[in-house]
């Protein structure tokens, strides 16, 4: 049974013996195959040799030969987005974690798509880049028609849903949770797609930890037709909570604003935090001797 359904812990796979053990043999296999003539019996003998090797391989590590996504490596954390008066506001920090290490700190996790949409992603960063490549091609072909029609956020959202769901069906998911927002012809649109293809639309969405920490705030404090300032304040409130409580969050975030005119994304900035709480100043007050 593939273990992608179990909780994520990326590092162990890198230290797997599977990577150390069969690499040399794989190289040998290829060299042998290249030099020998392509006669049936010689191929059979080669196959026998590699087969016997692979038998042992499969027993010790069943996923060694898998080309499918098994676990994510470099991940982004939450994305939070809301509809406001003029369009969509989306916030995401710029962290790319490598397991528990906050390794990359300038990862842009929100990108514009075509004229009308913006895509934010959490999860595996390389898969996000792959999705951007797919969307790039999609928008390119859309533009090549050169007629008055263009793909709006609703269409892009649906396309992404199909993409994610089809990959999930092949047991080779794109390990992302996506947020797709946009405005077209005055209509605001905000949707979400998960890595297994679960999709929905709402006035405010979040991914990852944002689901647990940001959405309750948004449920209480979001209202129709927020002004830009109110919207940003609300998003910053959510991001601050995430910064305090999500260990994969970094204090460097961007906010993307999407209106009918297009997308603007802010320069990276930090949130002010406050650590002067009694429990932080004197952490051991309740349990002497601990740390």
């Amino acid at each position: 049974m593939l273990n992608f359904a179990t909780p994520v812990s990326p590092c162990p796979s890198l230290l797997d013996s599977s990577l150390l053990f069969p690499v040399s043999l794989r190289v040998i296999d290829r060299k042998i195959k290249a030099h020998l003539p392509t006669k049936a019996h010689s191929q059979v003998s080669i196959m026998n040799m590699s087969e016997s090797v692979q038998v042992t391989n499969n027993l010790t590590n069943p996923e060694a030969s898998s080309q499918r996504t098994l676990y994510p490596y470099v991940t982004g954390t939450s994305v939070v987005a809301i509809k406001y008066k003029d369009g969509i506001l989306m916030a995401a920090d710029m962290g790319g974690s490598y397991g528990s290490t906050l390794r990359y700190k300038s990862v842009e996790r929100m990108k514009s798509v075509g004229k009308h949409s913006v895509l934010g992603a959490s999860g595996e960063i390389s898969d996000f880049q792959e999705i951007l490549r797919y969307l790039d091609e999609l928008i390119l072909h859309d533009n090549m028609w050169d007629d008055g029609n263009s793909l709006g956020p609703k269409e892009v959202h649906n396309y992404l849903t199909r993409l994610m769901y089809n990959r999930r069906n092949k047991f080779n998911p794109l390990w992302n949770s996506l947020v797709l927002g946009g405005v077209k012809n005055g209509q605001k649109y905000l949707g979400s797609v998960s890595m297994i293809g679960v999709h929905f639309e709402d006035n405010h969405v979040a991914t990852g930890f944002g689901n647990h920490l940001a959405r309750p705030i948004l449920r209480d404090e979001w209202k129709e037709d927020l002004s830009f300032e109110e919207g940003v304040k609300l998003l910053e409130k959510c991001m601050r909570v995430l910064l305090y409580r999500d260990r994969s969050a970094v204090n460097k975030l961007q906010i993307a604003k999407l209106t009918e005119e297009g997308m603007t994304i802010s320069q990276p900035y930090s949130l002010k935090t406050f650590w002067g709480y009694g429990a932080f100043q004197n952490p051991t007050v309740g349990a002497e001797g601990s740390w």
Partner: protein, 276 residues
């Protein structure tokens, strides 16, 4: 056009730079019974003459719905038309599935045209022998296109194809400037008048014509016979011989005069099966 040595293959050019097979395919369109289309900013109406071979048989279907927002009327080889409308339906539904949105008619028309072009450049194929009047909606409103067997497509305010379509075209040419702002009812009225032009004096009843309408906020539908007959009666379009101006259409004075027939198809019994 006379038979010559360059017309056997669709992949053979004539010295004058013509592909005769493609031109012959366009002739097939002219042999089919008339189909007309006209549009305003928000609505498109398709209408066609539907005559059955004999009293015992039903008439051939010439208008097809491709999606809620796209319909097509055909003239020529109905079998080819049926196959192409199946292709259109397929494209529409696949787009809807991927994008949760209606396929813009302009794109469908280009896909159809490209499909037709392929048949003009393969030695083992023949061009489709059917002309398509595609009515549909996209972001910029209502559109009417005509797709030729040659792979060309044109957008029209109003157009007519098939036998005796010239009479309808003459009528439409006189009135097309007002179509853009016409109401739905006036469009229907003009469509029926145009159809009547092609009948050469024969009485227009709902049993020999089919009318379909589509618009912004109105899904494509083929009107049932009763509705059409009611429209014919209301606008007093039926007419006989060369009717003078009818009550509610003061600009119809010259409409009833016998239309010029530049296409009188000789009814050869051994030609490829087509609609009459």
């Amino acid at each position: 056009m006379f038979r010559n040595q360059y017309d056997t293959d669709v992949t053979t050019w004539s010295p004058a730079g013509r592909l005769f097979q493609v031109e012959y395919a366009m002739e097939a369109v002219k042999q089919g019974s008339a189909a007309i289309g006209l549009r305003s900013k928000s609505h498109v109406v398709l209408a066609c003459v539907n005559k059955s071979n004999s009293e015992l048989s039903s008439h051939q279907k010439k208008i097809f719905k491709a999606d809620d927002h796209i319909g097509v009327a055909i003239a020529g080889l109905t079998a080819d038309g049926r196959v192409l409308s199946r292709y259109m339906r397929s494209e529409c539904i696949n787009y809807s599935y991927s994008y949760e949105s209606p396929l813009p008619v302009g794109r469908l028309v280009v896909q159809l045209a490209d499909k037709a072009q392929v048949c003009t450049q393969r030695s083992w194929k023949r061009p489709y022998g059917v002309g398509l009047l595609v009515a549909g909606l996209d972001e910029s409103g209502a559109h009417l296109y005509y797709n030729c067997p040659s792979g060309n497509y044109f957008e029209y305010q109003a157009f007519a194809i098939g036998s005796r379509s010239q009479a309808a075209k003459t009528y439409l040419e006189r009135k097309f400037e007002s179509f853009s702002t016409s109401s739905r009812e006036n469009l229907l009225k003009d469509a029926l008048f145009a159809i009547r032009e092609t009948l050469q004096g024969e009485r227009l009843t709902s049993s020999i014509c089919t009318v379909a309408v589509l618009g912004v906020g109105e899904a494509f539908q083929i009107l049932d016979q009763k509705t059409v007959q009611a429209l014919i009666d209301a606008f007093e379009i039926a007419g006989e011989e060369a009717p003078a101006a009818e009550g509610d259409a003061p600009d119809q004075s010259a409409a009833g005069s016998g239309p010029t027939t530049d296409q009188g198809p000789p009814a050869e019994p051994d030609v490829a099966p087509m609609e009459t």
